[in-house]
Structures are given as C-alpha cells and as structure tokens.
C-alpha cells in the first residue's frame, strides 16, 4: 500500500494486443510493476519481447488494451500534460529528426508542449543553454540540418531536447545501439548527468545486458510480453532465478568467460 503512493509509474495487468482473430498477437501480456522517483530502470529483452511496445504504452503513443497504468497515482487523461512529464529518446538518431527542418526549428517545436508563453528571446536562451549542456556550440549547430550532423551529434540533440522539456520520466529506447562503440559511453554519461540535474527517472529499453548492468538500479527482464524477473543488476547477473534469464546470460558472448566450449 505504501509503495503504491510513492510510485511514479504503476502498472497492473497491463496488456496490449495487436490485431484480432487468428492474427491476434499479445505484445505485452499482463504486466505488473512500479517505478519510483529518480530510479534508473532497464527493461532488458530480445527483439520481439515486447519491450518497445511497453515503452510506447508508457508514453501513451500506443493504446492500452486492458489493465491499468497510473502516473503519479492517476490515470492519464491529458496527453499534452503527460508529455510534459514523460519524454523519450529513440534508437535511431537519423530517423528522429525531420530532415527538412533546421535543428533550431525542431528544438523550437518543443515549446508547443508548454502552456505558458515564452518570448522568442527566452526560447533562444533556453535552447542555447540546452545545447551547451550537451556539449554543443549553439552557433555552430542551430542553423544546420539533420543530415549535416553525425549520429552522435544527433543523439546529443535529442538529449538537448530533454534538457528543454525537463520531464520527470525519460524513456530511452535503445539510445546507444546505433552509435559507434567509442561514443556509447559518453552518451550514457550525458544521460546520467542529465538525470542528476533534473532529478528524474530514466527507463532504459535495451537488449544489451552489459549496458543495463552499467547504468541501472533495477533490471526488468522481459520475454514474450511478460516481465519474468526483476531485481538489482548484480543479483540478476550473479544469481539469475528464471530459466530464460539464465539462458540469456549463458548465451551472450562475454570477453572474460568461455562461451563456445563448456
């Protein structure tokens, strides 16, 4: 009971079904969980496990088939309001920006979310600050178009967008999987410093258990639409309980462990 009050996100029997009849496919299958303020959660699963659908449910980009999903103890009625509090960074930075508009105009688009009015100058100051926080020089990038930037730079811009909106929950759907390995850690560190500054909660959606181990306070393991195991990353990796988690950990190639020969 006590937990339910504190949880910023609470899901009970959350289910999402696509199609109907023979083609019916349950992407998220009666899932229960709660996420608390300022927590870092990783939802780990392979492709087709339903983790991206779960992320879209949390963002209210996908309609819930059945079950309840509460945000701050209340169901979401006003999406605009919800998106001020819950935001996302997506997997493919190249696909995340409209290539026909400049960086500046796409950052300005965020102000559409706020009910209060800003003057143009205020907007510019905020954008400049956000860009500096992600290590970019405003004058250099504002006029540019997405296709003139690298994948890493675009991912930084997506994070700058989060700096502007300052949400309470950030859903990061495979934020580093399309970025070169060398840049991966720096993007993660940026996200983590952002978390500290905004005192928000981050939900990482990933297939990379190493990443989940590095960043998260708790890990949810997803398989075929269900959350099969939750726990502290060290517990999950050191002492997995569920068959699926055991198999997963055994089959992922890791540098310091024999993989092919038993």
């Amino acid at each position: 009971m006590n937990n339910q009050k504190e949880a910023i996100i609470l899901a009970r029997d959350l289910t999402c079904v696509f199609g109907s009849g023979k083609k019916k496919f349950t992407a998220v299958d009666h899932v229960d969980f709660e996420i608390y303020n300022e927590e870092i959660i990783s939802i780990v699963g392979e492709s087709g496990s339903g983790k991206t659908t779960l992320a879209r449910l949390l963002l209210h980009l996908q309609a819930i088939t059945s079950g309840t999903l509460l945000f701050n103890g209340k169901p979401v009625t006003d999406k605009q309001e919800h998106w001020r509090k819950v935001q996302a960074v997506f997997q493919d930075p190249y696909a995340s920006f409209n290539q026909f508009f400049s960086v500046e105009s796409q950052l300005l688009a965020c102000f559409n979310l706020f009910s209060e009015k800003f003057t143009d100058q205020e907007k510019q100051v905020r954008i400049d600050n956000a860009l500096r926080s992600v290590g970019m020089e405003p004058a250099e990038v504002k006029e540019k178009f997405p296709f003139e930037l690298s994948g890493g730079q675009m991912q930084r811009l997506l994070i700058a967008r989060i700096f502007l909106i300052r949400p309470k929950v950030l859903i990061a759907d495979e934020p580093t999987s399309m970025i070169d390995a060398c840049l991966r850690a720096s993007i993660l560190d940026l996200l983590l410093s952002l978390k500290k500054e905004l005192k928000m909660c981050i939900i990482f959606i990933t297939h990379d258990i190493g990443l989940a181990h590095y960043v998260s306070d708790r890990v949810f393991v997803m398989c075929k639409g269900a959350i099969v195991e939750t726990g502290h990353p060290d517990e999950i990796i050191g002492n997995p309980q569920h068959e699926y988690t055991k198999k997963l950990l055994e089959d992922i190639p890791v540098l310091h462990k024999a993989w092919l020969k038993e």
Partner: protein, 286 residues
Amino acid sequence: MTDAKNASEKPKVLLTVDNLGVHYKTRFGQTVQAVDGVSFSLAQGKVFGIAGESGCGKSTLVNGVMSLFIPPLFYSYGSVVVDGEDITKYDSERLRVEILGKKISMIPQGALNSLNPTRKVKHFATDVMRNHEKNLSKAEIYDRLEDRFEAIGLDPRVLNMFPIELSGGMKQRVVIGISTLMNPHVVIADEPTSALDVSTQKSVIRMLLDLMERKIFGSMIFITHELPLLYHVADDIAVMYKGKFVEVGESDQVIFRPRHEYSKQLMEAITKLSTTGERHSEGARL
C-alpha cells in the same frame, strides 16, 4: 601467428590479400577510397576476424576480397591471390564460374529474406551447383543435396520448403548449407548472426565452426561489430578504421592488449559496458 601445435606442420595458406585498395564513386562524382592498402592472409582451419564500426569499409572489403567490382565500386590496386592466381585480374564470367561459390563463398546477414519467396530452398541450392557443374541432372542434384544436408546436420526436408516457412535461425543455417555446397576454400561471413537472438546466434556459430573442423570449408573471414563475439570466434583479429587495418594480431593481444589508439578506445568502451565491468551508480556515487 606461429601456434605451438602448428609449428611442425605449417598449414596451407588459402588466401592472400596484398595491399588491396577499393574505391567507389558517389552519385555526386566524388571518389571515396573505402578500402586502403589492406593486407592479410588466411590459412587452412583459421578464422580471421574483422572488427570495425559501421562505415569503416568492412562491407566494401568483402566485395574487394571476392573481386566483385560492380559500379559504383572500382578496383584501385593490390592483389587477391587464391590458388596461386590473382583473381582481381579475372573477368566477371570467369570469376563467377571458377571462384564465387566454389573457392570463395559468402554468407550475408538475413540472406533468405531477400530471395524470391516463390522458390523453394532446393531451387536456390540447384542454382549454386549448376553454376559450377552445368551438366548435372535434376535427380542427381537433389540426391547430392539431400546427402549433403544430412551430413551437415540439416533436415533434408527443408529442401522442399519455401524461405518464409523457416525461422530466422533455420534460414541462416540453410544459407550456410547452400553457400558451403562446393566446399569453398574461404567462407566470408558478414554479420551472419546480427539479426538473430543470442541463443540462436550461439547455435549458428557452433554449426559454422563445426563445418570448418570437418573440412567442409577451409577457412573463414568473420566480420562483426560485436567484439566479445568476435573474440570467441576468431583466431586473428584486424581492427578496421577508415578503410585501413589499424591493428592486426592474435585475438588475445588485440582485445586485451591493444596497441593502436583507436583499438584502445574501442576496447575500453566495450569493457566499460560489460556485465563484469564496474557499475556506474556505485562507481559514481560512492
């Protein structure tokens, strides 16, 4: 490169790539040197791994090793020697008949997805055999295919199936079965498992190594951006960066004691984000 067990009997070298350069022309007329002075050689029973980020020239190198220069890809310089002959000098017809599929064969990622869905597995396999032995009868081919599939642990019934009837892992096994039909000297596996889940990935890799052990094919070039996987599969690893091999060596050395600045960075990033590495929250907060 001088393993203790191989010291007495030096394994036969199957492929030698010497100072190979490949460039392509963009649609706007610029020339990009995608592969720049790459050299390596591949011996019987060895797996040569190539690591690199997307856009480093890995896939262009694959085409280069097969001497498959289809515009906008062009040969710049260097040689690829198979059985004592430089195949970069071959014309496309001779290459198709004598080399491709027979001496050098390729396993692309998700191959069966792009194939004609109205044809059965056996038709694709027949194509490969007909390319090299024109006068075989259908019955003879099917007999041999069945024997072969059985021998490499694939159910011969898949021969009569359509690509869409197979699961992702099965498709990749079938592709491996088909591309090793002619017992090639060299198999090039370009991210052969990146579309598969980890459990299937393991079994597909096992199959590949098993086939090589049984001399179904001679040696393998294995390309992936996933370093832990590469470490477990490859004997030697080359790190590719901007079209060049910045580092070549035994896997242990390249992974754990990298010398080049770029490979150091790469390995650092990998170890940081691994299940055995330090956790961020503890590392930063405490």
